[in-house]
């Protein structure tokens, strides 16, 4: 009983933490380039709805994932145009993008409410899945779960060990200096937003293709905002984001496990767990570490005057 509870909790944490981690990685890239994107929620919704509808139409979940990722990236370009080309306020633009995503995804998804899909195939890693206790759940996931940690490592490597990553971080810290060093801040920020949009789209697609296997309006339920909080928690570092996503996945999973086991607590109170945990962890962990934020976060390069 306890064993199966822990097993369910662990595998649930990994499953629920995966879309969060994709989204958080996207936001890390955004913010390393100096842009706060509150529209991530909308990007995820677009990824979720396009991924789902494409899967229904083609019958192929892999195509769905690609379509969802691309939709997220293109959608994020709208945000990019506003905050980079038009130098609009990032918080207001982000909220507007979220609104747009909520509405557009509702419109796109309306005919597909109730549609059934098979979802992403589970890939069973044979020798490992026979391990007692953990094997049966720990090694039966879809491809996106297996890929998420390698992608986090890749993001870390790109950001910290490549010339492009260095330039990107320079833009986030001091765009004028990056410009003086011959970089084009705008181009780098567009690239960052495109990649972040891809990751946000994958996050949404994973949600609708692997977790729920249905489409519902506003199904992300604030996960995009939780991801923004996770970025602060992880000190803008892709590897620490893994731990953060697992923790929040754990909160979501705990709530599901308790509901499944008929724990006599209202589901609405249990649903608060991830949000309260975000706040609690940030309160304990986040405040003292503000210095880790990119120095020019929230400001867009205005050229050298």
């Amino acid at each position: 009983m306890v064993g199966s509870f822990l097993e369910g909790l662990l595998s649930g944490s990994i499953l629920a933490g995966t879309p969060l981690l994709y989204a958080t990685l996207g936001e890390v890239i955004d913010e390393r380039a100096g842009i706060v994107n509150l529209g991530l929620e909308g990007v995820m919704l677009m990824g979720a709805v396009v991924g789902f509808t494409t899967t229904v139409e083609t019958g192929n979940a892999a195509v769905g994932v690609f379509a969802g990722a691309l939709a997220g990236a293109l959608f994020n370009m709208v945000f990019g145009f506003l905050v980079i080309a038009r130098r609009a306020n990032q918080l207001a633009s982000g909220l507007a993008l979220m609104f747009c995503g909520v509405g557009l995804s509702a419109l796109l998804g309306a005919p597909y409410i109730g549609s059934q899909i098979k979802g992403l195939n589970e890939i069973i890693i044979l020798p490992l899945s026979d391990l007692p206790l953990v094997g049966a759940t720990l090694f039966r996931y879809d491809i996106l779960v297996y890929l998420v940690v390698p992608i986090a490592i890749l993001v870390w490597w790109v950001l910290f060990y490549t010339r492009w990553g260095l330039s990107l971080r320079a833009v986030g810290e001091n765009p004028a200096a990056a410009f003086a060093a011959g970089k084009n801040p705008y181009r780098l920020q567009y690239q960052a937003l495109f990649i972040a949009g891809l990751l946000g789209g994958i996050a949404g697609a994973h949600l609708s293709l692997a977790l729920t296997k249905t489409w519902a309006e506003w199904m992300t339920a604030g996960r995009g905002f939780v991801a923004v909080a996770l970025v602060i928690f992880s000190k803008w570092h892709p590897l620490r984001a893994i731990a953060g996503a697992l923790l929040f996945g754990g909160a979501i999973s705990l709530q599901l496990q308790m509901q499944a086991r008929g724990v006599p607590v209202s589901p609405f109170l249990l649903d608060m767990l991830p949000y309260l945990l975000s706040l609690g962890v940030l309160a304990v962990w986040g405040g003292a570490r503000r210095h880790a934020a990119p120095a020019s976060l929230g400001q867009v390069f205005r050229g050298t005057e």
Binding site: L38, V78, F81, L82, V83, R86, R87, A88, N89, L91, A92, S93, L95, A96, L97, F99, C100, V102, G103, L104, A106, L107, A110, E217, W218, A221, G222, F225, V226, V228, A229, I232, S266, F268, L269, D271, M272, Y275, L276, S278, L279, L282, A283, V284, G286, G287, A288, R290, G298, Q299, R302
Partner: protein
């Protein structure tokens, strides 16, 4: 000494510029509506028919116009709820949650003290609504003054907690046993209902946004508090060295802001719904943020922007009922209007926050 001809040319110049900006303004909104029409067309809806219904049922009839005013009440309140803390660069994105908690507190008062006469009960639940929203926002204020969590993130996340809390009460302890499967509380007594004006749904709660706007303007421009707030907003370090307690202002302004959003929630349950339901607000708190942002915190601008977005919100009801579109489709139009406004303002004034 300015010559008369110069004065004339200046006045003329001014008028011309005003006209140009008006045309530009209308053109921009036209662009937003055009893009929305294209989206509707792409989804197989007739945009002309949709817009005819949209405008004839909002601006085109007395009842429609009154519905715009009905929506303006919560929008102005939630916009001022954002504008007040933004005076010292606090970003309150939690209007939606504060509205829900205000409604929750007001409902508690209305259900508990239902025997009180109207002249005590209405002020009491208004006060409770204000208190509820204010306390909810104060949590974020405290987190901010301690330097633990930025108010942007905490207000954003608290929205979800607030909505879930309302759901908990409505589905659980406060569920009206008489309304079968509907998750809602019992109906408020008449003494807890804000009276409507004429045959419309416009209600006496309109004095709240009116008073909020006037007080906001007055305090800001005519009092020492307004001056100190400007000092903090201008240069927090200098303000601190001049003995202004920034923490006090953070808590106070968050409380007042949250309280105003809470009042909006009280108005909704008392006058519009007559009871507490989970579907209390179509995102008034978020739209209020956009209103305040569009207005740049200017009181008259808030009225204008709230009027505009109230048309969109009221029109959204029409699109949902008459055209079978999802209710949230109208948020596309909200977003498009914002996109065009954002893409102009950013160029001109840069970062306001």
């Amino acid at each position: 000494m300015i010559s008369t001809s110069e004065q004339v040319s200046k006045a003329f110049h001014f008028r011309k510029e005003w006209l140009v900006s008006l045309i530009r303004f209308i053109g921009l909104f036209g662009l937003a509506f055009l893009v929305f029409a294209i989206i509707l067309l792409a989804f197989g809806k007739n945009p002309v028919k949709a817009y005819v219904d949209f405008f004839s049922n909002t601006l085109g009839s007395t009842y429609g116009f009154s519905e715009i005013l009905v929506k303006m009440i919560p929008l102005v309140l939630t916009a001022v709820a954002v504008a007040v803390p933004s005076r010292i660069w606090l970003i309150n994105v939690g209007g939606e949650g504060q509205l829900y908690i205000g409604a929750l507190f007001a409902t508690w008062g209305a259900l508990t003290f239902d025997t009180l006469p109207v002249w005590i009960l209405l002020p009491l639940i208004s006060l409770l609504g204000f208190l509820g929203g204010g306390l909810w926002a104060s949590i974020s204020g405290i987190l901010r003054t301690k330097g633990w969590v930025s108010e942007t993130i905490s207000t954003l996340l608290m929205n979800y907690v607030a909505i879930l809390l309302v759901n908990f009460f409505v589905f659980g302890p406060w569920k009206d046993p008489e309304s079968a499967n509907y998750p809602q509380t019992a109906q408020f007594v008449d003494a807890a209902t804000l009276p409507a004006i004429g045959d419309t749904r416009v209600h006496a709660g309109f004095i709240f946004p009116l008073a909020a706007l006037i007080l906001f303007y007055f305090v800001l421009s005519r009092t020492r508090w307004g001056l100190e707030m400007r000092a903090i907003g201008g240069n927090p370090e200098a303000a601190r060295r001049n003995g202004i307690s920034i923490a006090k202002y953070i808590l106070l302004l968050m409380f007042i802001g949250g309280g105003l959003a809470g009042l909006a929630g009280m108005c909704e349950v008392s006058a519009i719904q007559g009871r507490l339901r989970p579907s209390l607000s179509p995102g008034y708190g978020f739209i209020g943020f956009l209103v305040s942002w569009m207005a740049g915190g200017n009181p008259l601008g808030i009225v204008a922007a709230a009027f505009l977005l109230a048309i969109v919100t009221a029109g959204g009801d029409i699109l949902q009922m008459a055209h079978g579109l999802p209710g949230s489709v109208v948020s596309i139009l909200n977003a498009l209007i914002l996109f065009v406004v954002l893409s102009r303002q950013g160029r001109k004034v840069g970062l306001k926050w």
